[in-house]
Each structure stands twice: as structure tokens, then as C-alpha cells.
Amino acid sequence: MRTRIALAAPALLCAALVAATAARAQLHDPATPPAVASKVALRGEANSIAVREMRIVRKNDILVVQADMANMGRTDRTVFYRFKWLDNAGNQVGDGESWKQMRVLGLGQQTVKSVAPTNAAVDLRLEMNVEPR
């Protein structure tokens, strides 16, 4: 019995580590409103980068989005981001955008923009990760 517990313990530890990593996967900055956070797929920690506002409009039958990224801390941050466009079934529209690198100065704000590749896009996700340096 004791042998079984001893053998099961590392597996449980492993599962706990995976669960903890998954739980930490989306740690939005408190300044990111919940409605915006639902459109942001954040990988890792926000490192003081908040998506303060996201504006989506349909222009000439094509969705256009602008998002304001604010650095809430005093340290400059490097953000990697791209928009992912989704159709009404939740499938990705097009091949996907290229990743972009952007520097956000301490206490600064940058606006990023994207236009949907076709009129089939009805929703989007902002995929991003922030380098701690």
C-alpha cells in the first residue's frame, strides 16, 4: 500500500504542476476590462501590459479592430501579438496573420489595428505574450 502511494505521488505532483501552469496561463492585468479580456488570448503573464480598450467596427462589410495596449508599469516591455479572425462557426478565417513585435514604453500606450481578410470574419482574438525584459 505504502509502495503504491510512493509511486503515485510523483504522478500527482506532475498533474498538479500541469494544472497550476494551466491556471496561470491567462493572467490579465487588472486594468484589462473583463469584456476585453474575453477577446484576448494571453500566453503567460501580462507583465503590466493591459488591453484597456478594444473597438470593433464593420467598415464596407469588413471588420476592423483597434486595441489600446497600455504599459501600467515603469519598465519598457516587448509585446508579441497578432489578431486571429473567426467566422460564425468559430473557425479561423484565412491563414492567420504574422506575429508582430512592439515595444511599449513604461507608462506608455500603443494602439494596434487589424482588418479582417474577408467579410466571413465575425469575431476575433488578440493573441499576445509579453516578454518580462
Binding site: 505504502r2 509502495t3 510512493a6 509511486l7 505521488a9 510523483p10 504522478a11 505532483l13 506532475c14 504542476l17 500541469v18 467598415k59 464596407n60 462589410d61 469588413i62 476592423v64 508579441f80 497578432r82 484565412g94 492567420g96 496573420e97 504574422s98 506575429w99 508582430k100 513585435q101 489595428k113 487589424s114 482588418v115 479582417a116 481578410p117 474577408t118 467579410n119
Partner: protein, 200 residues
């Protein structure tokens, strides 16, 4: 089984479990040399010369800007002009236009007609069908039925390079113009600026 043996077994099992948790092997056949497929959309920062990310960012910005304006109402016909490369680098600038053409065609908002570079192949095929005597009458494409372009896309890429002992700064500017062929007017124009700085 002694207590020490049990502890040792538990440690071995734990190490195995944790290592299995971290490093899963992939279904690949690989020799010593490290070759990997990477993300074609990843940010490329190998040097500060013109790279794949620059090409992709330019194409995305120009396509987005064109679609956003709504100038392509009624699926007009468009042709491409060669892109002028005014930088000091060798860059296949037509690659940028090719990406823009692909994205615009997939949007379904526009129809592209043969550009100057693609025309000879079209003429050759028409002549083969109509003059070789090999094809059934009525199945051949007729000469003189091509649709002309309403608009023409023209672009140019310029750069400014500044360098000192420790830093190299490259500024690229891609300008794209949409001309109305009949009237010769610029109906739309946009530019994409890119700054790349490298330090030794």
C-alpha cells in the same frame, strides 16, 4: 522490501514521471544535425535586412487598408505594375505584390487581370489555341476578349540606413498607389513604415 529500497524506488519513479512530464518525444526521424520546421509567421530577427516579417507586415497593412476603404465596390478589375526597389539591398519586391494579390483575391472583393509580366504567357496560349489548328472550333478562347484593368497597383520600397560603431538603424518605407487607368488619377494611396535597429 526495506524502507530504503522503497524510498529509492519512489525517487526513481518520481524522476521518470517528472522528466516524462517535461520532455515528450516527437514523431520525427532526425540525425545529429538539428533541422526543424518553424513558424512561417514568427517574427524574424536574424539580421536587420529586409525579411519575411517585413514582407508579411507590408502585405497585411496594404491589403487591410485597401479593403477598409471600400474602393473595390462591384469587384473591379486590377492589374499589377512591378514594384520599384529604391533600397541598397537586393529584394524581390514583386514578392510583396504577390502576397497582396493573394490576399485581395481571397477576399473576393476584386478581380485581377494579367500584369505586364504575365501577359506573354497569356498571348502564347491564345495563339496556340487559335493558330495551331489543333483544337475543335468552338472550344478555343477567342482573341480580343480579354477584360482590361480599371485600376493599376504601383509600389515602391525605399530605405534610409544609419550606422555607427555600435548601432545600425534601417528605416524602410513601402508606398502603394492605386491608379485609375483611364483617368490617370490616384484613387488610393498608403504607406507602411518599418524601423529595425540592431546593436553589436
Amino acid at each position: 522490501m526495506t524502507k530504503n529500497t522503497l524510498t529509492a524506488l519512489a525517487l526513481v519513479a518520481g524522476t521518470l514521471a517528472l522528466s516524462g512530464c517535461q520532455n515528450l518525444s516527437s514523431p520525427v526521424v532526425r540525425f545529429d544535425r538539428q533541422v526543424n520546421y518553424g513558424d512561417a509567421k514568427a517574427v524574424e530577427l536574424v539580421t536587420n535586412e529586409f525579411g519575411s516579417t517585413d514582407l508579411q507586415m507590408i502585405a497585411e497593412k496594404m491589403t487591410g487598408s485597401l479593403l477598409e476603404t471600400g474602393i473595390f465596390q462591384g469587384r473591379p478589375t486590377v492589374t499589377l505594375a512591378p514594384v520599384k526597389n529604391k533600397t541598397s539591398e537586393y529584394i524581390d519586391t514583386n514578392n510583396v505584390m504577390s502576397s497582396i494579390q493573394t490576399a485581395l483575391t481571397k477576399s473576393g472583393k476584386v478581380r485581377f487581370v494579367r500584369s505586364i509580366n504575365q501577359m506573354q504567357q497569356g498571348v502564347d496560349e491564345l495563339q496556340r489555341q487559335n493558330q495551331s489548328g489543333l483544337y475543335k472550333q468552338g472550344t478555343t478562347a477567342k482573341i480580343g476578349q480579354m477584360t482590361a484593368a480599371k485600376y493599376q497597383l504601383e509600389g515602391e520600397l525605399t530605405s534610409i540606413v544609419k550606422q555607427n560603431n555600435t548601432t545600425k538603424d534601417v528605416y524602410y518605407k513601402f508606398t502603394l498607389q492605386l491608379f485609375d487607368v483611364e483617368e490617370g488619377t490616384v484613387e488610393w494611396q498608403d504607406e507602411k513604415e518599418i524601423r529595425k535597429t540592431s546593436k553589436r
